[in-house]
């Protein structure tokens, strides 16, 4: 039991748990205190000072986010003194900020803009500081754009990169008026240890960090009669997109999303869930092959644990941080890139299209996917496999631009081929989902029986804990897999790179012995990705995860190997998992990188 203390907020007496901050306590009193540097995902910084409140008996004001309540505290959140100070602080922020709001990508979704509007800052008395600086926009990354002229130094990105991702590609540099958020030696974002995960973008209150958008490029392609524009949608998009278009967090909008994409003019609307199922076939087979090579052949060149390779930010992270461990990565491309390679080969052949005229677009909850599509090795179809990657947010912008009343859309279903999927493909969008999908298939492949979990729900790998472990004992396998008899398959799941670091370190030190690990760079997995709607916070991630699992539960097929189109593609095109065509189109290699 936590001790309760009595405090007064704006003359209303309330009881709160000892140690709670004034910001949290105010919510109990029905008072909303404006904040800017504060974010539910991050530690308290207390540096913007927008949340200052007056405490009786104290001459100075206190930052409500950083001040714990004490017994008998009398707090005023809206006194004249508070309002004057708060207004002046907002004015100061605006004087430092490039406030060309109408020219800003974040226009309409900017926390500073909202404060300026709430407090009706109608004058510009202070000297505008932004024009006095020679700011240069960093637009070198294929994933993101960093514009320091819009930065308000709240350090949410710095805390995000350090606390959630453990990367610290962005840190505060210099002091005083020159203080800024910078990379190592102020190199461009694409030259440093940045994983392109986009969490900083998702946590930035202003337009200082935004995704590099490809909206106009896609509109151009859609308008071009000579082009056949194909779109794929990642599993996590369907549980996030609704938030941008008037639905509550956790609403599944799969059918409406497909309908909207068709209205936008895409020639074929397909599902990345299909290639997620395909990934399971390839990666599951790779796992079993590696187990055989290690356990039976004792091949020293084959490494365990096998690590998933779906998350491009994780790939870049391991290339930077653990370059000696690239052999542990599955050689499978991510579902996006498998899909891209197949679109301009298998799909083109099937419909007799010239791959040169195909424009392949993907809708992803992710900014690292933009970088991934841009990797030089992702041209196995003979063309660039994926031409444009849009985030969930960019798709929402296009839907709004097209004047589509999303709330009123009727549900539509994905086109064939490469549009069918299973529940296993859907749960790729949540942390633990790839693991669960792989186990559903691999266990059945080996034993001929379904995984021994109620309703196929492998609960130990679900949830939001940073690192989770599970193990499955293999008994009575089919004759081909007799070498696995009695083996306890040990698995681990990690999400958020700071948790991934602790898992990797335990593997490097030899402390942990796993066979298979699933890694997702973003907290909560793709549903908490850097390209998802802003805000994203623990509560919203939980709701999106519930939606993902509900989607899985509602699917008639829930195991990847049951997907009829998967069976079809193997019989017509790929022949077998890990076969020659697969090797050429669906597998890849990795590049060691510097650690700065």
């Amino acid at each position: 039991m936590t001790t309760k203390i009595k405090i007064t907020i704006n003359e209303k007496q309330i009881e709160v748990a000892e140690g709670s901050s004034i910001v949290d306590a105010a919510v109990c009193a029905g008072v909303i205190i404006p904040t800017l540097c504060f974010h539910k995902d991050l530690c308290v910084a207390g540096n913007c000072r927008v949340c200052v409140v007056e405490i009786a008996g104290q001459k100075r004001l206190s930052a409500a986010c950083a001040t714990p309540c004490e017994e008998g505290m009398e707090i005023l959140t809206n006194s004249l003194k508070v309002r004057n100070a708060r207004k002046q602080i907002i004015e100061l922020l605006l004087s430092e900020h490039n406030a060309d709001c109408t020219l800003c990508y974040k226009n309409g979704n900017c926390e500073l803009q909202k404060l300026a509007s709430d407090y009706k800052i109608m004058t510009q008395d202070f000297i505008q500081l932004a024009p006095l600086r020679k700011y240069q926009i960093d637009h070198y990354s294929p994933s993101m754009i960093k514009d320091d002229s819009k930065c308000i130094r709240c350090q949410r990105c710095v805390r995000t990169c350090a606390e959630i991702q453990g990367v610290s590609a962005l840190t505060a540099a210099y002091k005083g008026d020159r203080m800024k958020i910078a990379t190592f030696f102020e190199k461009p974002m694409n030259d440093v240890v940045c994983t392109n995960c986009g969490q900083c973008i998702n946590h930035c209150p202003t337009g200082a960090l935004v995704e590099r958008n490809y909206i106009e490029e896609v509109w151009d392609a859609l308008a071009n009669k000579d082009k056949f524009v194909i779109v794929q949608t990642a599993p996590a998009v369907r549980v996030g997109l609704g938030e941008e278009l008037g639905f509550e967090p956790g609403t599944r909008v799969t059918g409406k999303m497909v309908a909207a994409l068709k209205r936008l003019g895409f020639d074929a609307v397909m599902d990345t869930d299909f290639s997620a199922d395909l990934t399971i076939m390839e990666e599951g087979s790779e796992l079993l092959m590696r187990l055989k090579k290690v356990l039976v052949d004792h091949d020293p060149n084959v490494k365990l644990p096998l690590a998933t390779s779906c998350s491009p930010a994780w790939i870049k992270y391991i290339e930077h941080m653990y370059p000696d461990y690239l052999d542990h990565l599955s050689t499978c491309k991510s579902p996006q890139q498998m899909f891209g390679a197949l679109v301009k080969t298998y799909y083109a052949k099937h419909f007799n299209l010239n791959p040169e005229n195909i424009v392949s677009v993907s809708i992803m909850p992710c900014t690292a996917k933009k970088f991934e599509a841009n990797r030089p090795e992702m041209h196995d179809s003979g063309y660039r496999d994926v031409d444009y990657v849009l985030t969930t947010r960019e798709l929402a912008i296009m839907i709004k631009q097209a004047g589509i009343d999303f709330l009123k859309l009727d549900d539509r279903s994905f086109d064939q081929i490469m549009g069918a999927s299973t529940g296993a493909g859907v749960i790729f969008g949540a942390t633990g989902g790839v693991m669960e999908a792989a186990l559903r298939t691999a266990y059945e492949l080996v034993t001929g029986r379904e995984v021994p979990f109620e309703n196929l729900n492998i609960m130990p790998v679900r949830g939001m804990e940073g690192v989770r472990e599970a193990s499955i004992l293999i008994e009575n396998p089919l004759p081909d897999w007799s070498f696995l008899e009695g083996i306890e398959l040990k698995c681990a799941v990690a999400h958020g790179l700071v948790n991934v670091k602790s898992l990797m370190d335990s593997i490097v030190s030899g402390e942990s012995q796993y066979h298979f690990i699933e890694i997702m760079a973003c907290p909560g997995g793709c549903l908490g990705g850097g390209g998802q709607p802003i805000p994203t916070n623990p509560e919203i991630r939980r709701k999106r995860a519930l939606a993902i699992y509900a989607e899985d539960q509602g699917m008639p097929l829930r195991k990847s190997h049951q997907n009829p189109e998967i069976l079809k593609i193997y019989s017509e095109f790929l022949t077998e998992p890990l076969g020659e065509v697969s090797h050429h189109l669906l597998h890849t290699h990795y590049t060691p990188r510097e650690r700065f």
Partner: protein, 394 residues
């Protein structure tokens, strides 16, 4: 104008320190509660400028249950116009080391650091030698106590105690949110006593002569003596130990050049007192005395009539604009606005009323900045602008 009385010069701090072993041994033989009471009854307040009661600080740390505690001597003497700590560490380092060890004994700490200002690198060899000699004595006395020297890197903000901890922990020197306070959550998250060099030197005096000798100096709320770094338009710049509670008029009579227009008390973060207020201003900690009482870390800068107060303020603001850590809005942006603002008024780009807007800004900075730096910019700004408004405009 006849001064009230001659300034009472005191000679404690730089008194011979050869008896340090004796003081150390004697103190280690006394119960720690007795030592704390001695300090509390001396009413010694922190000499870095903030004036927190030292005995009370030691008691708070002593009451903490954590087995690991730290003692830190703040020698990041960065306030413009202050140069007394350097002198203490040069002339009587053993007093400071002894006081740190006694503090360690009192609060139950075995590990101490001197955080030395980056620009004082030349003190390093001598200090290391002193520390070595001191450690040997601790060993002889079977007292488990280690003192380490930690070099700062030249940031003014790192004199702020929590920014100093961050700096020692290898992080960016940015002040933390308070509470928690250092005595419960300081260096590496452990209870920490952090005292200014001079404060520690005074505790030596108190443990040597007893609290009364110290308490008898000074006035109510401002007991004891203090080192003053006197600079500017004075025939005798230097370091002087004076009794607290003196009137500024007496001070100027003694140290001025006969043409003193104003005195900056407490460095760039302190207050400017114009001539007309010399008589009603005393130097000491704020209390319920009549008139104005100004605390100071010891910096006394005298300006004569040849000085432009605009240039003085411009200089201070340029300093703050650069030395703000840049973390919190009021300080980072506020300092820039103040500096650009007075320049714009001077150039006629903003009208004189803009100074009132800037004065309101300093009030906001005082109320809302995260640490003492941003809060105290208002001191010099408002005292200069209010008293020398015409010099700002024309």
């Amino acid at each position: 104008m006849t001064p009230g009385y001659d300034l009472k010069r005191v000679d404690f701090i730089f008194q011979d320190e050869s008896d340090w072993k004796e003081i150390l041994q004697k103190s280690l033989g006394r119960p720690s509660a007795e030592l704390i009471n001695e300090l509390i009854s001396s009413e010694l307040k922190g000499r870095g400028g903030a004036g927190f009661p030292t005995g009370f600080k030691w008691k708070l740390a002593a009451d903490e249950l954590n087995p690991i505690k730290y003692i830190i001597c703040n020698a990041d003497e960065g306030e413009p116009g202050t140069f007394k700590d350097r002198e203490i560490l040069t002339k009587v380092p053993m007093k400071v080391l002894t006081a740190m060890a006694i503090c360690g004994y009192v609060v139950g700490s075995h590990e101490a650091y001197i955080y030395l200002r980056g620009e004082y690198f030349f003190l390093q060899p001598a200090l290391n030698k002193a520390i070595q000699e001191f450690q040997a004595t601790c060993q002889e006395l079977n007292f488990d106590f280690r003192i380490n020297l930690f070099m700062g890197a030249g940031a003014y903000i790192c004199g702020e105690e929590t920014a100093l901890f961050e700096s020692m922990e290898g992080k960016r020197g940015e002040p933390r949110n308070k509470p928690p306070y250092p005595t419960s959550f300081g260096y590496l998250g452990k209870p920490t006593v952090i005292n200014n060099v001079e404060t520690l030197a005074h505790t030596y005096t108190i443990f040597k002569y007893g609290a009364k000798r110290f308490y008898d100096l000074g006035v109510q709320y401002s007991r004891g003596s203090k080192l003053f770094s006197v600079s500017g338009d004075t025939p005798k710049p230097g370091i002087y130990e004076l009794e607290l509670g003196m009137s500024l008029l007496d001070f100027v009579h003694d140290f001025g050049d006969g043409d003193t227009k104003a005195v900056q008390v407490g460095g760039a973060s302190g207050f400017l007192v114009p001539q007309k207020r010399f008589a009603e201003t005393t130097i000491g900690f704020q209390g319920k005395l009549t008139g104005i009482s100004l605390p100071t870390g010891g910096s006394m800068m005298l300006f004569n009539s040849s000085r432009s107060m605009y240039n003085v303020l411009d200089n201070y603001l340029e300093f703050f604009r650069e030395e703000s850590c840049g973390q919190c809005t009021p300080c980072r942006v506020g300092c820039q606005q103040l500096l650009n603002g007075i320049k714009a008024v001077k150039r006629g780009e903003k009208n004189a009323l803009y100074l009132d807007k800037l004065l309101r800004l300093t009030e906001t900075m005082q109320y809302t900045a995260k640490c003492g730096l941003g809060q105290s910019v208002a001191n010099s700004f408002s005292s200069i602008v209010e008293n020398f408004r015409e010099e700002m405009i024309y």
